[in-house]
C-alpha cells in the first residue's frame, strides 16, 4: 500500500471503515436535514466538518494516498441523501486538490485544515473552464504589481464560500498596453475587501452557500498562488476535476433508484408499465460507476483518450441523473410531487448535475472538438 494511504489509515481507519462511517453519517445525520438545506437554505457547515473528520474529503489527495475511488464513493454516499451537500463536498474536494497540486508551501501548510474540513473552501472555475475552451470570456482580470497581482472583476456564482473562507480562482493577466499576457490561478481568501453579493434564488441547490464575488484591485501574493502560468496546471488537473464531479452525480442517481424501489411494494403492480424501471437504471448505474472507478486509477493521465473517457463518463452521469430522477417521480406519483418530497428535490438536483459546468452541452462540444482530426487551416 502507498505510504500516504497507510498514514491516512492510521489517522482515519481503513478505506472500508471510512466509507462505512461516511455513509452512516450521511444516512443518519445528513438525510434528516436535507429538506432544511433545500427549502430554507441552511448551509450544513457542521455536517461538512463532521464528514471531513470522518475522512470524506482527504482520500483523493496525494498526501493521503491518491485514492480517487474513495473520494468518488464518499461523494456518492453524501449526495445519495443530499445533492446540495454532495455538490459542496465536490467543491471541498477540488479546492483541496488545487491547493495540494500547487506545490506551494504556504498552501500545503493549510492543506490539512481543508482536507479535514476545519475550513471550507470553494471553487470559482466555471467561468474560466468555459473561457479556456472558447465558450465565454474571462470574468476576472489581473495586472502585475510588486510582489504579485491586482485582480478585479465579478464572478456570478461561487459555492461553498463565506466570509473568512476561500476558493480557487483564475484571472487573465493583462499587459500594461492592455493586451493579454497569460492566466494565473490563485486561492482567493475572502477578507473584508472581497464583496459577496447575494445570488438570485435558484430552483434547487439552496444551502450550498453560493455567492456572487466582486473584487477590485484585490492583491494576490506569492503565498496564494496555485499556478502561474495557469494553463499547463489546468491541463494537468482537468480530468481529475471533472471526474470527481461524477461521484456527486452517482449519488443523485442512486437516490433516485432508492425512491423507485421505496414504493415497489405498494405500487409495483402499476409501476411495471413504466419504462426505466429500477433494475434497468441500476444496471446502467453499475456500468457507469465501474467506468468511473476504472478512470479513477489514473486521475492525472495526460492521454487525450483518458480525457475523452472522463468527459464521456461525466456526460453519461448527467443523462442518467435526468432519466433516473424523472423515473423516480413517475414511480412515486403524487407522493413524489409533494414539494417536500425527496423525489421532487432530486429532480432539481439532477437538473443541476446536467447544467453545472461542465454542462451536457459543454461536454459534447468539448468531445466533438477533441475527436475532430487536426488538419492544416
Amino acid at each position: 500500500m502507498h505510504a500516504a494511504a497507510v498514514e491516512n489509515e492510521n489517522i482515519l481507519g481503513s478505506p472500508d471503515s471510512i466509507l462505512k462511517n461516511v455513509h452512516n453519517f450521511a444516512r443518519e445525520k445528513l438525510a434528516p436535514v436535507a429538506n432544511k438545506i433545500d427549502q430554507e437554505g441552511y448551509y450544513p457547515v457542521a455536517e461538512m466538518q463532521s464528514l471531513g473528520q470522518l475522512g470524506a474529503f482527504s482520500g483523493h489527495l496525494d498526501r493521503y494516498g491518491t485514492q480517487f475511488d474513495l473520494a468518488l464513493k464518499n461523494m456518492e454516499s453524501i449526495s445519495r441523501y443530499c445533492g446540495s451537500t454532495g455538490f459542496i463536498a465536490w467543491c471541498q474536494n477540488v479546492c483541496g486538490l488545487y491547493m495540494e497540486q500547487s506545490k506551494n508551501k504556504a498552501l500545503l501548510d493549510r492543506l490539512d485544515d481543508q482536507a479535514f474540513a476545519k475550513h471550507l473552501g470553494g471553487t470559482g472555475l466555471s467561468n474560466p473552464m468555459k473561457s479556456l475552451t472558447g465558450i465565454e470570456t474571462m470574468a476576472l482580470h489581473a495586472t502585475a504589481t510588486k510582489g504579485g497581482y491586482h485582480v478585479s472583476g465579478t464572478l456570478p456564482w461561487v459555492s461553498n464560500i463565506g466570509k473568512n473562507q476561500y476558493f480557487g480562482a483564475i484571472a487573465s493577466v493583462k499587459n500594461q498596453d492592455g493586451s493579454h499576457s497569460h492566466e494565473i490561478f490563485f486561492l482567493m481568501d475572502i477578507d473584508e475587501t472581497v464583496a459577496l453579493n447575494k445570488c438570485p434564488k435558484f430552483s434547487g441547490m439552496e444551502g450550498t452557500s453560493t455567492w456572487g464575488v466582486t473584487v477590485e484591485n484585490y492583491f494576490v501574493g506569492e503565498a496564494n498562488i496555485i499556478a502561474d502560468p495557469a494553463l499547463p496546471y489546468i491541463k494537468n488537473i482537468r480530468p481529475a476535476f471533472i471526474l470527481l464531479q461524477v461521484g456527486w452525480g452517482l449519488g443523485v442517481i442512486q437516490g433516485a433508484i432508492d425512491s423507485c424501489r421505496e414504493v415497489e411494494a405498494g405500487l409495483g403492480h402499476v409501476n411495471q408499465y413504466l419504462h426505466n424501471r429500477p433494475d434497468q437504471l441500476e444496471d446502467e448505474l453499475l456500468e457507469l460507476r465501474e467506468r468511473a472507478l476504472d478512470l479513477a486509477k489514473t486521475p492525472y493521465s495526460p492521454e487525450k483518450d483518458h480525457l475523452i473517457n472522463v468527459l464521456d463518463v461525466r456526460a453519461q452521469t448527467s443523462e442518467l441523473s435526468l432519466k433516473a430522477s424523472e423515473s423516480a417521480l413517475l414511480h412515486q406519483g403524487a407522493r413524489g410531487y409533494l414539494m417536500e418530497s425527496d423525489v421532487q428535490r432530486r429532480v432539481r438536483e439532477a437538473h443541476f448535475v446536467a447544467i453545472v459546468t461542465p454542462a451536457i452541452k459543454h461536454l459534447r462540444w468539448e468531445m466533438a472538438k477533441l475527436m475532430k482530426e487536426t488538419m492544416p487551416a
Binding site: 470570456t137 470574468a139 445570488c199 464521456d312 475527436m371 492544416p376
Partner: protein, 450 residues
C-alpha cells in the same frame, strides 16, 4: 433634420451570459424599449446576476445552422439498427438492409456530413478536374430520406456499452438492437510532422481543403509515403501542374507490395514525369518558414532522415491507415489491424455487433478496398435477418492503381519471404508472380499505358 437610423445592438453579460437588447430594453428595471446601451446609467444591474453595466460587452448573434436530420431524430424511443459511419460501407450497409426490410428503424451516426461520395475518386480528383458536384453523388439528407433512415451527421461516437446495448455520442445516447460498425480507419500522421501541417486525403472535407489551397496557383507539394494513395496522388497532383516530391521509406515506391523489378520501373515512370522521388527517407522535423496569409500559400521546411532540407507549400501524408481502438476496446472487442470479426459471419466478439469495411480485420489482416464491402454488407444484412447460412467468403480483390501513365494490376495476396519469379520483362510489360505449392498465389503486372 435627417437622422440616420442605427441598428439596435446587443450586449452580453460577461458574468452570466444574459443578453441586453436595445430594442427591447429592460422595462422591469426602468429601461424603456429602445434605450441605447450608452444611455443606461452606470449603476444599472444585470437583471439576472446583478453585475453592473461595465461587465457587459457588445455581442453579435452567431449564424448557426442546425442539421434538419438531427432535429428529426427519434431513434432513442425505438431501438433499431445503428450503423456507425457514412462512408461507402455505412451507406452500402443501410441499402443492403433496406432491400429486405423497410420497417426496422435504422440510424446512421457519422462524424462527417453524411454526403454520399466515392472515396477512391479523391486521390485523382484534382488532376482530373472532377468537380465537387460530380464527386458528391447525393446529399446525405437526401439519401436518408430515400432509404427512410435517420441520419445523425457531424456526430462523434464517444462511448459504447455492449452490455447495455447503448452507443453514446456527442448528440446523446442511443439504444440499439443491432449495431454495425462501419467507421473506417484514420490516416496516420508520420512522426516529424505536426498534424496541423499535413493533409491526409481520407475524407471529402480534407480533400476539399487541399483542393481549395491548390486552386490559387501551382505549388510545391511534398507527399510522404509511396503506398497506393501516395503514388496515385503524386502522379495526379503532378499532372495538375504542381511540383511534386515523393518521400518514402522503401527503396522504391510500393516497396511493401511489389518487388524491385517492378518497383524500379515505376520509379523511372514517376521520374520521367518530373516527380522527384526521395527513397529510403523519412521526415525528421517540419517547421513553418512563412505563414499562410489570405490566399497566399505558406511555406514549410522539412528535414529528412538523410539530412536533406526540402521546402514545400503543402505537405500531404499517405503513410497508411489505422483504426481508432478506443471505442472497440471499451466495448470489449479485440483489435488486431482492425476490429476482429468472424471471417464467415462478420460478427464481432460481442453479440449483436457486426463490422465491415476498412475498420475490420479478418484473421489479423485488414482489407481496405471497396470491392469486398458490398458482399460484406449483404452477409451482415442476412445474418441480422436470421439467415445464418449466408456466409462471407473473403477473396483478395484484384487491385488496379489509378495511374495515367502506366497500368499496375495486383492479384492475390503477396506472401512475405516467397521469392518473385519474373514471367515477362520487356519495355512494355513486366509480369511477376509468387508461387506456392506449384500454384500462383499472387501476380503483378506493370505495363505502359497505351
Amino acid at each position: 433634420m435627417t437622422a440616420t437610423k442605427i441598428e439596435w445592438q446587443l450586449f452580453i453579460c460577461r458574468a452570466c451570459g444574459l443578453i441586453y437588447n436595445e430594442e427591447e430594453g429592460d422595462p422591469d428595471s426602468g429601461l424603456a424599449p429602445g434605450t441605447r446601451f450608452e444611455d443606461i446609467p452606470e449603476d444599472w444591474e444585470c437583471p439576472l446576476c446583478g453585475v453592473t453595466k461595465a461587465d457587459f460587452e457588445p455581442f453579435e448573434k452567431p449564424n448557426i445552422q442546425v442539421d434538419a436530420a438531427v432535429i428529426n431524430n427519434n431513434s432513442n424511443k425505438t431501438p433499431g439498427i445503428i450503423i456507425v459511419g457514412a462512408g461507402i460501407a455505412g451507406w452500402t450497409m443501410a441499402e443492403a438492409i433496406r432491400q429486405h426490410d423497410t420497417t426496422t428503424p435504422i440510424t446512421i451516426i457519422t462524424a462527417c456530413s453524411g454526403d454520399v461520395y466515392h472515396k477512391p475518386e479523391l486521390s485523382v480528383a484534382i488532376g482530373r478536374k472532377i468537380s465537387d458536384d460530380s464527386l458528391i453523388k447525393n446529399r446525405g439528407t437526401e439519401s436518408a430520406k430515400e432509404l427512410g433512415i435517420n441520419l445523425l451527421p457531424n456526430t462523434f461516437v464517444v462511448g459504447l456499452s455492449a452490455k447495455l446495448k447503448t452507443v453514446r455520442t456527442t448528440r446523446g445516447s442511443f439504444k440499439y438492437k443491432k449495431l454495425i460498425l462501419a467507421q473506417g480507419a484514420k490516416s496516420t500522421v508520420p512522426n516529424g510532422i505536426p498534424p496541423e501541417m499535413t493533409w491526409r486525403i481520407n475524407h471529402f472535407s480534407s480533400w476539399h481543403g487541399l483542393k481549395e489551397q491548390l486552386s490559387t496557383k501551382a505549388q510545391s507539394i511534398v507527399i510522404v509515403g509511396a503506398g497506393m494513395i501516395g503514388c496515385e496522388l503524386a502522379e495526379n497532383l503532378n499532372s495538375a501542374g504542381h511540383d511534386v516530391t515523393l518521400v518514402f521509406r522503401g527503396s522504391w515506391p510500393l516497396a511493401k507490395l511489389i518487388p524491385e523489378i517492378t518497383g524500379k520501373r515505376l520509379l523511372e515512370t514517376f521520374e520521367a514525369q518530373g516527380i522527384r522521388c526521395i527513397s529510403n527517407a523519412s521526415i525528421e522535423q517540419t517547421k513553418v518558414i512563412e505563414a499562410q496569409e489570405n490566399q497566399t500559400c505558406g511555406l514549410y521546411e522539412l528535414r529528412l532522415s538523410n539530412s536533406e532540407l526540402i521546402e514545400a507549400n503543402q505537405i500531404v501524408s499517405a503513410t497508411g491507415l489505422q483504426i481508432d481502438t478506443r471505442i472497440p476496446v471499451m466495448a470489449g472487442l479485440s483489435c488486431d489491424n482492425g476490429i476482429a470479426v468472424n471471417s464467415s459471419t462478420l460478427k464481432t466478439e460481442q453479440d449483436d455487433i457486426y463490422a465491415l469495411g476498412d475498420c475490420i480485420s479478418l484473421a489479423g489482416e485488414s482489407c481496405r478496398f471497396v470491392s469486398p464491402i458490398l458482399k460484406q454488407a449483404k452477409v451482415i444484412a442476412a445474418q441480422i435477418r436470421g439467415e445464418a447460412d449466408q456466409l462471407y467468403h473473403h477473396e483478395q480483390p484484384r487491385v488496379r492503381l489509378k495511374l495515367d501513365t502506366c497500368n499496375l494490376i495486383m492479384e492475390g495476396q503477396p506472401i512475405k519471404n516467397i521469392p518473385w519469379t519474373t514471367v515477362n520483362h520487356d519495355e512494355q510489360i513486366i509480369l511477376v508472380e509468387q508461387r506456392q505449392d506449384d500454384r500462383c498465389v499472387s501476380k503483378i503486372e506493370l505495363s505502359r499505358a497505351s
